[in-house]
Every structure is written in structure tokens, then in C-alpha cells.
């Protein structure tokens, strides 16, 4: 059967041959069955091999100057450590007995195999020139009340900006555990588990213990991801089945629509294994997206099948559905894949992986869906023709009347909404809250906030100073002293440590400590202050994530400025990456969104061989995006993060699908001899109800993201849903209003 047979003539859409897998399945059912069974079986077998990303720094792995500096710094650091931070919190002030227990705990942790050093209040010592306790540990072997009333205050009085590891009220303590990461991530995970097991022997003693730090956060995220993936997909499948049942009112037909989509999702999931890529917080939403998109295709095909002429055989009706609707479905898959692929323009490993798997996943799922449909529809739907409950989703007649009588007013109103939305969007602020990448109920999240509040933070920033090597002039030492004091003045609430503070602790602030003085420091700590070649001195600031709140951001910027002014050649560290990288990523995502928009629109215009679509499609599809972006003021306090920006790009790729189906129907009706207004009315009425059904279905499917413990996954889902609903309105009202214009039709 050809397009001409269906009466569409030369005005039908070109699906770039994407309907052929479906037609092939109809013509060669046995071969197609074998291919599909092999594909699904291998996909199922690969599911057990899916792994999850537990390397936080990869999220910020671009080629920006900040990332390059940090990598170069880490390579030059020599001994690298992975630091776990234990937050010990109690409702009561720690007494001597609790402190002795906690000291035993720190020692037990220090005895673990890969643990290099453990820094805690118990490792603190008085300066060697201290009048009362020269060189003595702050906490002696027998901790008594006097230790807390005499020694601890004496230490604090002469602390010289050494890290405070116990809060002034004596209820909170932090312990830093430096672990050797040389044995790989798996061994690091084991050590993390060993640390938690060791600590568990000490819980229930009136205090809570929480392990945090970059790697602990990564492991927590992985745990959340695994649970999230299962929940999102199971719930997604259930909602999909429910919605399909609601639309078709028949379990068999609903299963015909849902099963291919689920199998398509499974196959898309297996791409992670095929490419050897891990799942991340970002890519965790891909399966749900692929599921709802596959289901939308399935519903378009099944609905058309049910409405197809009853005098044709089941096989002919399936073929007709694939010829008429397949190209539009193929094109929608292609535009969505383009939106995914556009994300690859961002200089970031995880986002590029998201782009690859998302783009390919959508296409693979489309092929699986259309081939399965070709099989299942004739077998299972067969003679079940006629009305479905999808007919309930009627477009209100008012919309048709409004479009035909007030098209200019609609365009003016849309222009005003667009202008207001652009104004709102321009007032959003790039922001990246790292803690938001943790599950909302995470103890680590709360622990991080407590550490920031009490100790200033635990992320390290290094301000590097080139040394001239002329020790006789003392110039190097003066410059290092000035840098240390300037940074400390810029961040009075943060701990700032350098060779200068160590020299002050030694009681010799005028001279740089020599190697003998520093011999007690483990190399992993010494290299934090002085490079292995001795040519670079480093001032270390312990800071919170920069965008924890406005105050932390201001302080961070002040520190960077002050360090630069005081002669630091560069400031590096995870907080620096967190401060600058997101703005770069957001900027690149803006470019990728524009690229996705232009390419997808050009492709659709080409598919319909209709140049005017280059303009017509941009307006109703960009308007929902800008409106959703502006709505960030309501849903995210006006803060624009990379996830939100990426959601807009993907949303565009999906939102344009309705436009494609609408224009496809409009062209089909025009080809059947209807005038413009009649064709628009039919498209609004017939395709409109399918658009409503699929939008509701996709939105309902995406509602599962709201069950995610990850704020970013929820935000992603909310933004997509908002875009789809506004895009549906734009496609039902603004798009037909534009199509009525003479310049468009010419």
C-alpha cells in the first residue's frame, strides 16, 4: 500500500524511511520476530551489568580553565588522598567518658588497612613553645573534667587558626579520615563500608555519627540512584498501563500499546551496558522518558489502527497505520534524538553520555515499538475497531472557534506572553546547589549543612604562590604570610591553614619551618602546603560549597579575589569548580538548545517540504520553553541550574512532536480536498484529542519523577510536564492560528 492509496498524495510527510522497520516486520514477520526476540533477550541479560557512577568529580569534568587547573594541581600533588569526614553530634556536651570512647573510635578507624591518617580533636597538640603544655596533646591519655576546663580553652586561646574540630559548645565534632585511593574505587567503597562498620560499634552512645565527604556523597548518590531507577521504572510502567487502559478501555489493546514501549525501554537501557557507561543522576531519567515517548508512539499507531477502515484485513490496517502515522512517529523520534544529541555540545563527560544514550535510546526504542506494533496489532487488536475511550479526550469546540475567528488576537496575546516570559527568564540566576544532588532525606545532606554551619565547611581550596627560592631576603615568607592573612581576613569564619600558621604554632612566625620541623607531618598533609619540588607554597581554605546560600557565594568570591590580589597564581579546588563550572555548562546548554531547535525545525520543514515551517514551528515550540523557564521563579526561586536548562532542551525535542502530528494531519486533510479552515478543524478535533491523550499520558508518566528523592530529578520532571502542557495549548491554539496566515500557506 502506498501513500497515494491512502489519499494523501504528494503532501504527506517524509519520515526519512523510518517507517521501514515496521513495514519490514509486516512483510517478514519471522525474521523480524527473531531479531526482536534476540534484541530483547540480550537487553534483559545485560540489565544485571548496569553500573552507577560514583565519581562526583566527573560531573564537573570539562575542559574549562578551572577544571584543567584542578586536574593539573591534583597530578602535581603527589600523594593524593580521599577524605571521609565523620560528623559526631550530641544533644549534650561531650563529657570525659564520651570523649575517651570517641578517641578509641578514631583509633579503631585509623587501624583500617587503607586509612592513612585520622585527624580529630584528639590529634590536636599544643605548640611546642606553649607555656603550660609545650607539645602536649590537647586531650591526654586520661581525659578528665580539667581537660575540658583547662587544656581545651588553653588550646583554643593559642590556636593560631589551626583547624577547629570541636564546636565551641562541645556538642559537635568532626573527624577527617584520609584514605589511600590508589587501590581503586571498589577498594575505596570497601574501606567506606569498613569505616561505617567500625563506627557502628560506637553509635548509640548518646551521639550520632554521619560519614560524609566527596566520595561518601558519591556512594550515597549511587545508593539513591539504584533505588530510584527501580521505583521510577516500575511506577512508570504501572502508570503507563493504567493510562493506556483509560484511553482504550480494553486490557488487550492497552497491553498492545504498553508492551512494545516497555520492551523499547529495556533495549534502550541495555545501551548503557553496550557502551560501558554508568548511570548518573542525570541519565537516570532516560528510561522513563523513553518509556513515555515509546508509549505515545504506540498510542498514535494503535488509535489509528482502531479507526482504520474495517473492510481491510488486520495486516492491511497495520500496514496503513504504519504508512500514515509511522513517518510522523519516526520524525518525532528523530527530533527528540536531535534534542538529546544537542546536549553533547556541552563540554562535560556525563552530559555527553546522557546525549549519546538518550539520543540512541529514543531511536532504538522507536524501532522496537514500531516493529512490535506491526506484530501485535493484527494479532491482538484485530477486529476491535471503532470507538475507544480516547474519544473522551475531546478538544473543546471553543478552541476551534477561537482559532478561526481570533487568529490575530491569539498571535498578539502569544507575543505578549512571550515578551513577559523572556523578561522573566532573563531574570533567572545561574545557580548550582551541590547538596541538592543528594537524596532529600539523606543524613549526609543534613550533616553537610551542620558542618557548614559549625565549622565553615570541609571542601578544600588551595591558593598557590610561586616561591622565588631566595630565602635570604625573606621575601617568599613575607608574601606567603600576606597571602595567608589576606585569605583569612576574607573568610573569618573559615579555617585557613598554611606553613605560616604552622610556623606560628611552632612559635617561630618569622621564619619558614624547615624540613626537620615538618617531619612529623605525613607527606599527604605536607604536600598540601608545599609542592614536592618546594617551588610552590599553598594556603588551604576549608570552605562550604559556594552556592549553599548567598552569603557563602559572596564569601567564596571574596576569597578568590583576595587571594588573587595577594599574589596567588591560582586558586583551585572542588569549590572553585562548583562556583564557575555550572555557569559555563548553562551557557553551553543555551547554545545546544538553540542548535536543537534550529536543526529539528529544519528537519521537520524538510520532511514536510514546507519552508514556511522554519518560522511557524519555532514560535509555538519556543513559547512553552520560555514560559517554563520563567516559571523557575515560582518553582525554584528564580535559580537556573544545568538540569533545568537541559530539561528545556529535551522538552523542546518532545514538545515539537505534537506539532508534527498536527501538521501531518492538516496536510493529510488538505490533500483530501478540505479547505484550510476545514483541515484545521479536523486536525484540532481528531489529532487534537490524540495530542491531549498523549500529553496527559506523558505527563502522567513523568509524574513518577516526583517520587524521586533527588531534587534534580523532580525538577527535571516538573519542567518537562509544564512544557508539554503549555506546548499542547500552543499547538492547539497558536499553531493553527499561524497556519491560517496566507504567507504561511504560500
Amino acid at each position: 500500500m502506498s501513500n497515494k492509496d491512502s489519499g494523501a498524495g504528494g503532501l504527506t510527510i517524509s519520515g526519512f524511511g523510518l517507517e521501514y522497520p515496521g513495514l519490514f516486520a509486516i512483510q517478514h514477520p519471522r525474521i523480524a520476530a527473531m531479531v526482536l526476540i534476540a534484541l530483547v533477550a540480550s537487553a534483559l541479560a545485560s540489565l544485571a551489568s548496569i553500573r552507577f557512577d560514583d565519581n562526583i568529580q566527573r560531573a564537573m569534568s570539562s575542559n574549562s580553565v578551572y577544571a584543567r587547573d584542578y586536574r593539573a594541581f591534583e597530578q602535581g600533588l603527589g600523594t593524593k588522598t580521599s577524605d571521609f569526614i565523620v560528623l559526631v553530634a550530641s544533644n549534650e556536651t561531650f563529657g570525659p567518658a564520651e570523649l575517651e570512647r570517641l578517641r578509641d573510635m578514631t583509633l579503631d578507624v585509623a587501624l583500617l588497612d587503607d586509612v592513612l591518617t585520622v585527624l580529630s580533636p584528639f590529634s590536636a597538640r599544643f605548640a611546642k613553645n606553649h607555656e603550660q603544655f609545650p607539645g602536649a596533646p590537647v586531650f591526654p591519655q586520661d581525659i578528665s573534667t580539667e581537660t575540658l576546663t583547662d587544656r581545651l580553652p588553653a588550646y583554643r586561646a593559642g590556636n593560631m587558626n589551626q583547624p577547629e574540630m570541636i564546636s565551641p559548645d562541645g556538642r559537635i565534632m568532626i573527624v577527617t579520615i584520609a584514605v589511600d585511593p590508589a587501590n581503586g574505587r571498589a577498594r575505596l567503597r570497601d574501606t567506606h563500608a569498613d569505616i561505617i562498620e567500625t563506627l557502628s560499634d560506637y553509635t548509640g552512645d548518646g551521639f550520632t555519627l554521619t560519614v560524609t565527604g566527596e566520595d561518601a556523597i558519591a556512594f550515597e548518590i549511587v545508593g539513591g540512584l539504584q533505588r530510584d531507577l527501580i521505583t521510577l521504572n516500575l511506577l512508570g510502567c504501572l502508570i503507563a498501563l493504567f493510562m493506556a487502559l483509560l484511553i482504550f478501555g480494553d486490557l488487550t489493546v492497552a497491553l498492545v500499546a504498553v508492551v512494545p514501549a516497555i520492551l523499547g525501554t529495556l533495549t534502550a537501557l541495555s545501551l548503557f551496558v553496550l557502551f560501558g557507561l554508568p548511570m548518573t543522576v542525570i541519565s537516570n531519567v532516560i528510561p522513563v522518558l523513553v518509556l513515555v515517548l515509546g508509549l505515545a508512539d504506540s498510542i498514535h499507531l494503535t488509535m489509528y489502527f482502531k479507526k482504520s477502515p474495517a473492510d481491510l484485513s488486520a495486516k492491511e490496517r497495520a500496514e496503513l497505520s504504519i504508512r500514515e502515522i509511522g513517518p510522523a512517529c519516526g520524525l518525532t523520534a528523530l527530533t527528540t534524538a536531535i534534542a538529546f544529541a544537542a546536549v553533547a555540545m556541552v563540554d562535560n563527560e556525563q552530559l555527553r553520555e546522557f546525549a549519546l544514550i538518550g539520543g540512541l535510546g529514543v531511536m532504538v526504542s522507536y524501532v522496537v515499538v514500531i516493529m512490535f506494533f506491526a506484530f501485535l496489532a493484527p494479532l491482538c487488536v484485530g477486529a476491535k475497531a471503532g470507538r475507544s475511550r480516547g474519544d473522551w479526550f475531546k478538544v473543546p469546540p471553543l478552541i476551534g472557534r477561537l482559532v478561526l475567528s481570533r487568529d490575530r488576537a491569539i498571535m498578539v496575546a502569544s507575543a505578549l506572553i512571550a515578551a513577559a516570559s523572556i523578561w522573566g527568564f532573563l531574570r533567572t540566576e545561574p545557580w548550582f546547589h551541590f547538596n541538592a544532588y543528594l537524596p532529600v532525606n539523606s543524613e549526609i545532606r543534613q550533616a553537610n549543612e551542620k558542618i557548614n554551619e559549625t565549622f565553615g565547611g570541609f571542601f578544600r581550596m588551595w591558593h598557590e604562590l610561586d616561591l622565588t627560592g631566595d630565602e635570604t631576603s625573606g621575601d617568599d615568607w613575607q608574601r606567603l604570610t600576606a597571602l595567608t592573612d589576606t585569605v583569612a581576613a576574607a573568610a573569618p569564619d573559615y579555617t585557613v591553614v598554611s606553613l605560616v600558621t604552622i610556623a606560628r604554632w611552632f612559635g617561630r612566625p618569622e621564619t619558614m619551618p624547615d624540613r626537620t620541623d615538618l617531619s612529623d607531618l605525613p607527606e599527604s598533609i605536607l604536600t598540601q602546603f608545599l609542592s614536592l619540588d618546594g617551588n610552590t607554597a599553598r594556603v588551604v581554605t576549608f570552605a562550604p560549597e559556594p552556592m549553599a546560600n548567598r552569603q557563602t557565594l559572596e564569601t567564596h568570591d571574596r576569597i578568590e579575589r583576595a587571594a588573587g590580589n595577594a599574589g596567588a597564581i591560582r586558586t583551585v579546588g572542588f569549590p572553585v569548580i562548583l562556583r564557575h563550572e555550572p555557569a559555563i555548562v548553562i551557557g553551553q546548554l543555551e547554545v545546544s538548545l538553540i542548535a536543537a531547535c534550529l536543526i529539528a525545525v529544519a528537519l521537520v520543514a524538510l520532511a514536510f517540504r514546507w519552508p514556511a515551517l522554519l518560522v511557524v514551528l519555532v514560535v509555538p515550540n519556543m513559547l512553552p520553553l520560555i514560559l517554563t523557564a520563567a516559571s523557575l521563579h515560582l518553582i525554584a526561586g528564580g535559580l537556573l541550574n544545568p538540569t533545568a536548562m537541559m530539561a528545556l532542551t529535551i522538552a523542546f525535542g518532545i514538545a515539537i512532536d505534537d506539532s508534527i502530528h498536527f501538521i501531518n494531519r492538516f496536510r493529510l486533510e488538505r490533500a483530501r480536498g478540505h479547505d484550510v479552515d476545514q483541515a484545521l478543524n479536523i486536525a484540532i478535533d481528531r489529532t487534537g484529542r490524540v495530542m491531549i491523550a498523549t500529553t496527559l499520558l506523558i505527563s502522567a508518566g513523568l509524574l513518577v519523577t516526583l517520587t524521586s528523592p533527588f531534587t534534580m530529578v523532580r525538577l527535571f520532571g516538573i519542567m518537562l510536564i509544564l512544557t508539554f502542557i503549555t506546548a499542547l495549548l500552543a499547538d492547539l491554539v497558536l499553531l493553527p492560528a499561524l497556519l491560517r496566515q496566507k504567507w504561511v500557506r504560500s
Binding site: D104, A110, V118, F122, R125, A136, T516
Partner: protein
């Protein structure tokens, strides 16, 4: 090696609980995993600091050699403990190599068994003063526990530097 002052030996022995153990079985008794806790001081006169250790003893029947390996930690410091001891031809005497986790480095040790205890002597170079220090280490062994005490016996004065009791 300079002869140890009797007061030093007496002081260190005073720390160690007396218990019956056959000299010949001493090394074999130490086979297995041990957890230790006690104290150590940085140098004579310095304050005591808490120490905890976790070690494994492997006794080889063929040459009657005991190898001890593990890790000890005090606040802010930790180090590997590594060494072996084996009987020498002369009755009740032992020789081996011992690595102190807190900086004495690897050194040869020579010991003599008396009752349930083995007293080892060794020398090491103090990193701060660069002087040679005469050290003494006493292992007191019982069936389910043993104690390692060390001391500095240089200059005729005894200063106990650590005492750690191990249990299975």
C-alpha cells in the same frame, strides 16, 4: 651492646603481669589475630598517649619463626608494625627484626627468655637528637593475652615509652 641497668629491667618487668607460660611455646602462643590497647609516649618525660593496635601473628613450625604484622595508631599518627622473631641455637635466646610503627625504624633485636617473658634489646637512632638510643622491649605472654612494653635505657636511666596489652 651496653649492659642494661637492673633498675630499667625491673621497671619494665613491673608492668608485665606474671603468668605461667612455657618458654618453648611462647612464640607459638602468639599465632593468630590480636587487638591491643595501651599507651605510648613520644619521648621520655612526654605525656602518655593512648595507643591501639591490631596485629596478626603467624608461627611457622619449620623454622619456629614468629612473624608479627599489623598496625598501631595513636591520635594523629599511625604506623605499620612488622617483624619476626626466631630462636637461635643458644638456649632461651631469640633474634629477629622489629619495625617500630612510630619512627624507630627497622632494627635488629636480640632477646632472652625468662619465665613467661622475652626481653629484647635493640639500638636505634633518634631522629631529633641524632643520637643512638638503647632500647628494650619486653614481651610477656599468657594464653589469651600478651603485653609489649618498650623503654629507653640509654644513659643508665630507664624510661618506659609504651605498654600495650593484646587480647585475641
Amino acid at each position: 651492646m651496653r649492659k642494661l641497668p637492673k633498675t630499667a629491667i625491673a621497671a619494665i618487668f613491673a608492668l608485665c603481669p606474671a603468668a605461667p607460660a612455657q618458654a618453648a611455646e611462647i612464640l607459638e602462643t602468639l599465632d593468630g589475630k590480636w587487638s591491643g590497647s595501651g599507651w605510648a609516649r613520644h619521648k621520655p618525660g612526654a605525656e602518655r598517649e593512648t595507643v591501639r593496635c591490631r596485629i596478626s601473628g603467624i608461627y611457622r613450625q619449620t623454622d619456629r619463626r614468629l612473624t608479627l604484622k599489623g598496625k598501631c595508631a595513636s591520635p594523629g599518627r599511625s604506623g605499620r608494625l612488622d617483624g619476626y622473631v626466631e630462636p637461635v641455637d643458644k638456649a632461651d635466646t631469640y633474634a629477629g627484626r622489629w619495625s617500630n610503627p612510630f619512627g624507630a625504624g627497622s632494627t635488629m633485636v636480640h632477646g632472652r627468655n625468662r619465665g613467661d617473658a622475652i626481653t629484647f634489646r635493640f639500638k636505634f637512632r633518634d631522629r631529633e637528637t641524632d643520637e643512638t638510643v638503647n632500647g628494650i622491649m619486653v614481651w610477656t605472654v599468657r594464653a589469651d593475652r600478651f603485653t609489649i612494653a618498650t623503654g629507653d635505657v640509654s644513659g643508665g636511666k630507664a624510661a618506659i615509652l609504651s605498654e600495650i596489652e593484646f587480647q585475641r
